[in-house]
């Protein structure tokens, strides 16, 4: 549960930082020069790198959760981050969110609640003890 929470928080923070970083860089043009410029701009952007650190935190917690739970369980349950992401987008990026989008967010939350009621693991898993 803690790992799922860490997963959601890190993913949200990472996505927001990426959006902020890419907004600073500007719209990417699909051409050899445009892509080269975008690649250079992204690897030299501090905001993008901090975003990547958060996404690494997400990867670690995600890998840990996947080592014991079903993919079809982790994937929808992780979606509860949409609710928080929408709140963050409104609060920090000042994006406008219509009532229809809020209804969508509520549907996602209900779906996540349903999935979280199911058994997290339906397949066998190799349990290995770490040598002390």
């Amino acid at each position: 549960m803690v790992m799922i929470l860490a997963m959601v928080v890190c993913a949200n923070t990472g996505d927001l930082l990426l959006k902020r970083g890419m907004t600073q860089i500007g719209a990417v043009e699909i051409s050899a020069a445009g892509l080269r410029h975008a690649l250079l701009a992204t690897v030299t952007s501090g905001t993008i790198w901090i975003g990547i650190v958060f996404l690494i935190g997400f990867m670690t917690s995600y890998m840990t959760v996947l080592s014991w739970a079903d993919y079809s369980y982790v994937m929808p349950v992780g979606a509860f981050g949409y609710a928080t992401l929408t709140l963050f987008a409104v609060t920090f990026l000042h994006e406008t969110v219509s009532p229809r989008r809020w209804v969508g967010v509520i549907l996602i939350c209900v779906g996540v609640l349903l999935v979280s009621q199911t058994r997290p693991r339906t397949t066998e898993v190799a349990v290995r003890e770490v040598a002390a």
């Binding site: 975008a38 890998m63 939350c109 996540v112 397949t123």
Partner: protein, 123 residues
């Protein structure tokens, strides 16, 4: 709009393929005994030596760059929810490739998530 749809396709297939490979790798790795830093590091090290993990990485890198480009074109509150169409693709993959037992409650949940996503994307 066609380029957005195409890139969204790359994003969704890359994400799903990468995550399924990752799940296979993590299931082969096995769970860490405790959530202590040292054991987590040992666990990550075991995972890094798994072939499935490395099969997933290029797919995830591809979907990551598709995500970056999409984020430069569209607001984050469109891009992230739209990419969640991968929930259906991912659940199908979980059922038929990973052989997970996807029951009615899980399917209804996934369908609700997708309906929510469609509404959010239509904004």
């Amino acid at each position: 709009m066609i380029r957005v749809a195409l890139l969204l396709g790359v994003l969704i297939l890359g994400t799903t393929g990468g995550e399924i490979a990752m799940t296979l790798g993590m299931k082969a790795t096995g769970e860490p005994a405790r959530l202590r830093p040292r054991e987590l590091l040992a666990f990550l090290w075991r995972a890094l030596r798994n072939g499935w993990f490395w099969a997933g990485v290029p797919l995830m890198a591809l979907s990551f760059y598709a995500l970056l480009v999409l984020l430069s074109w569209q607001p984050v509150s469109f891009v992230i929810p739209a990419s969640a169409l991968s929930y259906v693709v991912g659940t199908l993959g979980a059922k038929y490739i990973l052989r997970e037992d996807v029951g009615p409650a899980r399917w209804i949940g996934v369908v609700l998530v997708c309906a929510g996503v469609a509404l959010v994307a239509a904004g």
